[in-house]
């Protein structure tokens, strides 16, 4: 593979020519706005749309009464109302929507919809929701989901521990902050169906969900879902598609709905805040014997993939380590806060922060080097997976650890500046790819020769920015020995693509590779057979190459000419469908293919302000072969900086169910001035005989960054952090508590 090929979507992106779905317009298009709830928890007494209807330019106003099918959405359970009828359960709940001749008229109309509420008490913390006298957010109470895992007997295990660390960790509600907010256009078609031009991470799933809501057959709904200006999991669930679709059907006009940033903040899903309490014990050699984990996730009022995310966190509670006794108890709790849902890392980032902090604290208590403690407890190549299931053999865990250890030994730091302390931290992670055992995780693809004589490679994936188009191009060229000018790529359109499953769970690269492996031989053979008939050359002498079919070094037929000489019926189309590989053991949600990250972070901590400045972030990734170098690097660098934000900047705070940060003026994202020196090492080696090809790297670069940064802070100051994003005032208080002040600048703890 050339690996450094430029992305096929590059030219259109750097010139601004790429039409995003939110950039599109259609003749006679109307504009829509959604009225969201005025309260985080209330009963709706009345909805009156009369004053809004009177406004010139208003073409349609819809509420719960206008939903012909199921008034709910949710990838697994449709429990989030399209429009609330009796009760609103968070500040982003939708109550009504308007289509009008302009955005301004729609905005004005929304203000003129009169809704009266009876305000209910707000459950803004899982602890409140779990209290005995708490109002119930659904009939069966306030627990959305529970998941546990047990191995051995932790109570017995702790009896043999000489060092025990117990801590509660708090991780924040991170916002995806994709640059393109949700939206697009829904166009009514002549046959009574619709075309939905809106971004999503699984077009066929949107088609299914919309079919249920609109009471339309799936075949009447075409989803054009690509390209997108970012998603990171945030556009996996439905967002504004139902409103534009209902309004387009009602008005029989194209309807555009593009949320403003403020509207996006209010309505979009966020990363699950979690409180994770862990007790971990080891013997005097540092061997961990018992690990007792309790996870409480604030999932907001509706499910989306909350249960699956909790499953993932529970699965990864012991990460890449093998502990004798493990007990994990996870609870996903309903609240009146933001809906928490899918976000790059999928519960892994939260649990890894807690787990890796435990390993570091334990190392200190045992009096060991944290790396040595990790190595002692690390999984081996043929060990079972974290749920005691069989997994694909891997040396990734030890490979990434060795890489960061080597780098740590080479690091040289500038001498401490006045009032500045420096430190280095290391953390690691193991991350499952695909949806896991027992989950519908079908994949597939198609190769064909288009009428223009191009090799059309088609997948039901979406280009969200991750570079799946570059991966498809690179792998197709490698599989068929053609070049980029011979290929067209078709994705993100339910009318034109096969089922490939979701563009999530780090599965895209892996599935494209598997699909091409399955299709390439048949496709090549069939093309060569046709070429043999046309050219009278022996079929065994023919092969595919740049521009056409070759006999040795000589091109005997172009793809175009081949296509022209074959009838449409005889044209070569090769399709495949298969499932993402899962563990043979019946372990619900258990993964089979895992990737690994080793992270080294270096920080400077300002003793006067408590500010943390990350100066170097290095990631070693074990995920098999690199398909596209720029894409791979970009995923890890970008994921790393996103998690730097998670570690020291980003928290979508809420108070009494209201957002505290309405836009980017208060929700701080990393800018170019926050970026440390970044380095990425790809460890491509896989055990001999591995048949699973390159793994996806969409998530792994985000998972272990936070604990590396907090360990680096500990290295600098001797302070343990149990809550992110790290608050400078916590650091200042800790400095003061230790007796060091800026006028009496002394080493705080001698720990180096």
């Amino acid at each position: 593979m050339s690996k450094s090929r430029k992305r096929p979507d590059g030219n259109d992106k750097v010139t601004g020519q790429l039409a995003y779905l939110t950039d599109r317009t259609f003749p006679e298009m109307l504009y829509a706005k959604v009225l969201r709830s005025a309260y985080p928890h209330a009963r709706i007494r009345s909805i009156c749309t009369e004053r809004a209807k009177e406004l010139p330019g208003v073409k349609a106003i819809i509420t719960h009464q206008d939903v012909p099918g199921v008034n709910g959405f949710g990838i697994i359970t449709p429990d989030q109302p399209v429009f609330c009828d009796e009760t609103v359960r968070f500040i982003g709940d939708a109550v009504a929507a308007v289509a009008a001749t302009s955005v301004e008229v729609a905005e004005e109309a929304i203000k003129r919809i009169d809704v009266t509420y009876d305000v209910l008490s707000v459950l803004d913390d899982p602890a409140k929701s779990l209290a005995k006298d708490a109002p119930k957010l659904r009939d069966d109470g306030n627990v959305l989901y529970k998941k546990s895992f047990t191995k051995g007997d932790v109570a017995e295990g702790f009896k043999h521990c000489t060092a025990v660390v117990e801590e509660t960790y708090h991780v924040p509600r991170q916002m995806h902050a994709y640059m393109e907010t949700e939206g697009g256009v829904v166009v009514p078609e002549a046959d009574g169906g619709i075309t939905v031009y809106m971004g999503t991470q699984h077009g066929f799933k949107d088609q299914f969900q919309l079919s249920r809501i609109l009471d339309l057959p799936k075949e009447s709904i075409r989803i054009v879902s690509s390209p997108m200006g970012g998603s990171f999991g945030g556009k996996d669930e439905l967002n504004v598609q139902p409103y534009a679709a209902l309004l387009a059907l009602k008005t029989n006009k194209p309807v555009k709905l593009h949320q403003t940033r403020a509207e996006s903040v209010i309505s979009s899903i966020k990363r699950h805040p979690m409180a994770i309490t862990i007790k971990t014990g080891a013997d005097e050699t540092g061997k961990v014997i018992a690990h007792d984990v309790k996870i409480v996730a604030d999932t907001g009022p509706y499910a989306t993939l909350g249960p699956a995310i909790l499953d993932f966190a529970v699965e990864h509670s012991a990460g890449p380590y093998r502990f004798e006794h493990v007990a994990v108890d996870g609870t996903s709790v309903l609240t009146n806060n933001a809906v928490s849902g899918e976000f790059r890392g999928f519960g892994g980032n939260q649990i890894t922060f807690a787990l890796e902090n435990q390993m570091d604290r334990l190392a200190e208590q045992v009096g060991m080097c944290p790396l040595a403690l990790r190595k002692l407890n690390l999984r081996g190549e043929h060990d079972l997976g974290p749920l005691e299931q069989r997994i694909v053999p891997t040396t990734g865990a030890s490979d990434v650890l060795e890489n960061v250890e080597r780098l740590k030994d080479q690091l040289e730091f500038k001498k401490d500046l006045p009032f500045v302390r420096t430190g280095v931290g290391i953390a690691m992670a193991m991350h499952g790819g695909g949806l896991g055992f027992g989950r519908l995780d079908g994949a597939g693809g198609r190769l064909s020769l288009s009428d223009e004589g191009k090799i059309d490679v088609s997948f039901g994936f979406e280009e969200v920015g991750q570079g799946i188009v570059a991966v498809i191009e690179e792998l197709t060229i490698a599989a068929l020995h053609c070049d980029e000018n011979d290929i067209t790529i078709t994705i993100g359109d339910t009318n034109r693509v096969p089922h490939s499953g979701s563009t999530t769970a780090s599965r895209g690269t892996s599935m494209v590779w598997h699909a091409l492996e399955r299709m390439k031989q048949e496709f090549k053979e069939k093309l060569c057979e046709q070429a043999a008939l046309i050219t009278d050359e022996p079929v065994n002498d023919l092969c595919l190459g740049t521009g056409g079919i070759y006999k040795g070094e000589e091109q005997v037929l172009t793809y175009r000419s081949l296509r022209e000489q074959v009838t449409s019926e005889a044209n070569v189309v090769v399709e495949t469908s298969f499932d993402f590989p899962t563990t043979p053991d019946e372990v619900d949600g258990g993964h089979y293919l895992y990737t690994f990250a080793g992270v080294l972070a270096a920080v400077e901590v300002d003793l006067l302000t408590g500010q943390v400045n990350v100066t170097h972030l290095h990631q070693a990734i074990s995920a098999g072969e690199v398909v596209n170098e720029l894409g791979y690097k970009g995923q890890i660098e970008g994921g790393g900086v996103m998690s730097l934000g998670y570690s020291i900047m980003e928290d979508m705070g809420m108070e009494q169910g209201h957002y505290l940060k309405p836009n980017f003026d208060t929700y701080m994202l990393p800018t170019i001035s926050d970026v440390p020196r970044l380095s990425v090492d790809a460890i491509e080696k896989l055990p001999d005989g591995d048949v699973h090809g390159p793994r996806g790297v969409g998530e792994i670069g985000t998972v272990a960054v936070a604990p590396a940064i907090t360990k680096a802070i500990h290295d600098a100051l001797g302070i343990w952090i149990n809550k992110i994003p790290v608050d400078p005032s916590t650091i200042l208080q800790a400095i003061e508590k230790e007796g060091a002040t800026w006028w009496n600048e002394q080493p705080i703890v001698s720990h180096k």
């Binding site: 302009s102 301004e104 640059m179 393109e180 990171f232 940033r261 969200v464 800018t671």
Partner: protein
């Protein structure tokens, strides 16, 4: 002109847009972004993301200076020269654009037009900025995908290319 609910008076605004003299109808309340994207020019390369001047996705050049077009009213560019992403690399790509492609300076591409405009403004003012100046020049433009490393590589490459 963007359709409005209220009775604001549309007016003609004359400007030089990407090198061509144009007159565009705009309402008094239209932002420059609105007119560029939704008005007659239909130049959707300029993006709107935060709408409050914090992310730089809507960056354009007005008389050679970098501005957030979401913070500028359309009437304020009367008589000015406005350059959008569509005006960069017309005919053949600008070295900045080539560098963004070669160095992985973009992923989803939504911040890219604004980012390219910011680099353009930076290099117009200072053809050989050092790393610190690059950071300062691009600190008003948010990218959520790349972690900025690819963008830094691209700017350094663009500097080399133009020499």
């Amino acid at each position: 002109m963007v359709e409005r609910a209220t009775d604001c008076k549309p007016q003609m605004i004359s400007m030089t847009l990407n090198g061509e003299r144009v007159s565009i109808q705009a309402n008094e309340t239209d932002r420059l972004t609105d007119v560029l994207r939704h008005g007659e020019p239909s130049l959707t390369g300029t993006k709107l993301s935060c709408g409050i001047g914090r992310c730089g996705a809507c960056s354009v050049l007005v008389n050679g200076e970098l501005v957030n077009s979401c913070l500028l009213m359309a009437y304020q560019v009367e008589g000015a020269s406005v350059t959008t992403i569509e005006g960069v690399g017309k005919g053949s790509l600008d070295p900045i654009q080539i560098a963004f492609m070669e160095e992985g300076g973009f992923q989803c591409g939504y911040c890219t037009p604004g980012m390219v405009m910011a680099v353009k403004a930076l290099l117009l003012e200072n053809p050989e900025p050092n790393d610190e100046q690059i950071v300062e020049g691009l600190s008003g433009n948010i990218c959520r995908c790349t972690g900025y490393e690819g963008i830094k590589r691209a700017v350094r490459a663009a500097i080399r290319k133009q020499n």
